[in-house]
C-alpha cells in the first residue's frame, strides 16, 4: 500500500514535470502563458518558504511580499552596477534577503502570535515605501529595468526558472525532513517542551526566518529576471496576505499544500481579471469554503481518496466475514 502510493506520487511528479517542460510549446511560446506558469513557480517557492515558518514552525509572518521585493530589487541593483554572472547575482539576492531576514528575526524571536504578525506586517508595508523613496538606489517611482542574461533566450530562462524551482523545493523538502524540521515542528507544538528537550528555540526561530527569507529572496530574483522590470508597486502588502491565503487553502501541515494553493491562486486571476474587483471576491470565497469544509487544506483531498479506499477495504472484509 505504502509502495503503491509512493509509485503514484512518482508518476504524478513525472507527469507534472513533463507537462511543465512541453508547456511552452503547447502554448505556442506565448509570453502571457509562460508568465502565468512562472508566477506559479515563484509563488510556489515563496509559499513553501513561508510555510517553513507558519506551517512547520508556527511563527506567523505577513511580510513575505517585502522579502520578495528585496530579492527582486537586489537582482536589479546588482545586475545594474556590477558585471557578475547571473547565477551569482541570484545567489547574492538570496543572501541579502536572508540578511534582512536575520535582522528582522532579532526582534521577531522575542515575540509571539499577533505581536509577531504586526512586526512582520510593518516590515511588509515599509519595504515598498523605502523602495519608492530611496531614489538614489532604487530609481524611485520609475522602477528599474533588469536586462535578461545575454546567454539566455526567453525559453532557456523559462527552463532555468523551472529548474531552480525544483532545486529550491528539493532543498526545502530536505531541510524540513531533517532534524531541523523536527525542531521546527516541536517549537510549533509546544515551546516549553521543545526548550526542556534541549532545543535552542531562539536559534531555530532565527534559522527559520533566515532560511525562509533566503528562498523567498531568490524567488524574487527569478521574478526580476523574468519580468525584466522591478517597481515599488510589484509586491504590495496584499501579496503577503495572498501568500497566507495560498498556504491556508493549500494546507499548511503539508509540504505540498502551499504549492497547490500557489497554483490555484495564480490561475484564478487569469479567469477573473476581466471583471473588475471579482478576483478578491473569488479568493475570499474560496478561503471561506476551504476553512469551513476542508480546514486542513486542499491537499487533504488526496488523503480523502486514500481513506475512501481503506473504507472500501473494510467494507469488503466485513462482507467476506458475512456480517
Amino acid at each position: 500500500m505504502q509502495l503503491k502510493s509512493q509509485k503514484l506520487k512518482y508518476i504524478f511528479n513525472s507527469v507534472v514535470l513533463l507537462f511543465i517542460i512541453v508547456y511552452p510549446f503547447l502554448m505556442n511560446m506565448s509570453g502571457y502563458w509562460m508568465t502565468l506558469l512562472v508566477m506559479m513557480t515563484i509563488y510556489g517557492i515563496t509559499a513553501v518558504a513561508l510555510n517553513i515558518m507558519i506551517g512547520y514552525g508556527g511563527q506567523i509572518s505577513i511580510g513575505h511580499a517585502g522579502f520578495l521585493m528585496i530579492g527582486s530589487y537586489s537582482v536589479a541593483i546588482i545586475a545594474d552596477r556590477f558585471e557578475l554572472p547571473f547565477v551569482i547575482t541570484l545567489l547574492l539576492a538570496g543572501i541579502i534577503t536572508a540578511f534582512v531576514g536575520l535582522i528582522i528575526s532579532f526582534s521577531a524571536v522575542r515575540l509571539k502570535g499577533h505581536f509577531l504578525a504586526v512586526v512582520t506586517l510593518g516590515f511588509g508595508i515599509s519595504v515598498p515605501v523605502i523602495a519608492l523613496n530611496w531614489t538614489s538606489l532604487t530609481n524611485g517611482y520609475s522602477g528599474m529595468l533588469v536586462t535578461r542574461p545575454a546567454i539566455l533566450s526567453e525559453l532557456s530562462l523559462y527552463y532555468f526558472i523551472v529548474g531552480c524551482t525544483v532545486l529550491f523545493l528539493w532543498f526545502m523538502y530536505n531541510i524540513l525532513h531533517s532534524s531541523f524540521g523536527r525542531a521546527f515542528i516541536s517549537i510549533r507544538e509546544s515551546e516549553i517542551a521543545a526548550q526542556s528537550s534541549g532545543i535552542n528555540t531562539t536559534f531555530y526561530k532565527t534559522l527559520m526566518f533566515v532560511i525562509s527569507s533566503f528562498f523567498t529572496g531568490m524567488a524574487g530574483g527569478l521574478y526580476a529576471y523574468w519580468i525584466g522590470f522591478v517597481g515599488p508597486t510589484d509586491f504590495p502588502v496584499t501579496i503577503s496576505f495572498l501568500l497566507l491565503a495560498m498556504i491556508v487553502v493549500g494546507g499548511m501541515h503539508s509540504f505540498y499544500g502551499p504549492i497547490f494553493g500557489a497554483v490555484l491562486f495564480s490561475i484564478i486571476p487569469h479567469f477573473t481579471d476581466e471583471f473588475m474587483g471579482i478576483t478578491n471576491i473569488v479568493i475570499g470565497l474560496i478561503l471561506v469554503i476551504i476553512i469551513l469544509f476542508r480546514p486542513e487544506g486542499l491537499v487533504t483531498i488526496v488523503d480523502w481518496f486514500k481513506m475512501n479506499k481503506t473504507m472500501e477495504k473494510a467494507d469488503t472484509i466485513s462482507k467476506e466475514r458475512g456480517s
Binding site: 523536527r182 515542528i185 507544538e189 509546544s190 517542551a193 521543545a194 526548550q195 526542556s196 528537550s197
Partner: protein
C-alpha cells in the same frame, strides 16, 4: 558520575508577582526527592527555575558546585538535568518515535539506539505505537511518552512535574513503579506531586512548599509522622 543540584535562596517573579520567595533545596546523588504543596505554592515554578524556563531573580542555583543561574535552558539540558513538564506536553503531530528523537536532540553520542531500547523496555506499549501520532495516544501513554522523551536526553537528574495528573489509579501505580526503577539505575529524581501519599512513599526526602517558601523539610519517614503534614496533606 552523579550530579549534585542545589538551590539557595532562589527568588522568582512573574512580572511583579512573586512566585518563589527564597527557596533552598538540594537533590543529593541518586535519591528521589519530592516537592509537595498546595496549588500555587510554587512547585512547578521551582522546576521551571531549575530547567531555566523562568528567570531566577535572586539567589544561586548550583550544579556540582558551579553556579548556573544565567545559563540557557538548552545548556541545562546539556548538563543532563532534564525537565519533564506538566500536562505532558508531547508533540501531538509528531510520531511517537519522532517525539523520542526530539528528546535526544542535543546529544551527539552514539548511544541513542541503546537508550531507545531502554525506554521501550520501561514502556513496552510505546514500542507498539512507534509510528502513531502522539496526539492519538491515551493520557497514560502520553505520560509514558513524556517520561520516555525526557529519558532520551540521558538525564542524571530528572525533574518530573505531576506524572500522575489525570491518570487512572492503576496506571499511576504502574508509572511510579517505573519511576523507582529509573531511580535504581542511578538517575536522581526531583518529583512534584499532588498525591502526597504516593509521593511520600516513593521518595526518600521531601520539601513542603507554601506560598513560595519551604515550610518544612525532612526525610519522608519523619514527615509521614508529622501532625501538620498528616492534617494538611494526608487527610488523617
Amino acid at each position: 558520575m552523579f550530579l549534585m543540584l542545589k538551590l539557595m535562596d532562589v527568588h522568582v517573579y512573574y512580572g511583579s508577582i512573586q512566585a518563589l520567595d527564597g527557596v533552598s533545596l538540594e537533590v543529593p546523588k541518586g535519591d528521589i526527592v519530592t516537592l509537595l504543596g498546595a496549588n500555587g505554592a510554587g512547585k512547578s515554578t521551582t522546576l521551571k527555575a531549575i530547567s531555566r524556563l523562568v528567570n531566577i531573580k535572586r539567589g544561586t542555583y548550583e550544579l556540582n558546585g558551579k553556579t548556573v543561574n544565567k545559563q540557557s535552558p538548552h545548556s541545562i539540558v546539556k548538563k543532563q538535568v532534564i525537565h519533564c513538564p506538566e500536562n505532558r506536553r508531547v508533540f501531538p503531530e509528531l510520531t511517537v518515535e519522532e517525539n523520542l528523537r526530539v528528546g535526544a536532540y542535543i546529544r551527539k553520542d552514539n548511544k541513542l539506539k541503546q537508550d531507545l531500547d531502554r525506554v521501550l523496555s520501561y514502556f513496552p506499549r510505546l514500542g507498539e505505537r512507534m509510528d502513531q501520532f502522539a496526539g492519538t495516544l491515551s493520557g497514560g501513554e502520553q505520560q509514558m511518552l513524556a517520561i520516555g522523551r525526557a529519558l532520551m536526553g540521558d538525564p542524571k537528574i530528572l525533574l518530573l512535574d505531576e506524572p500522575s495528573l489525570g491518570l487512572a489509579p492503576n496506571l499511576v501505580r504502574e508509572i511510579f513503579e517505573i519511576i523507582k526503577q529509573i531511580n535504581e539505575e542511578g538517575i536522581s529524581i526531583l518529583l512534584v506531586e499532588q498525591n502526597a501519599h504516593l509521593a511520600l512513599e516513593t521518595a526518600k526526602y521531601a520539601y513542603i512548599l507554601e506560598n513560595g517558601k519551604i515550610e518544612l523539610q525532612g526525610s519522608t519517614e519523619e514527615l509521614k509522622e508529622n501532625d501538620q503534614v498528616r492534617q494538611l496533606y494526608l487527610g488523617a
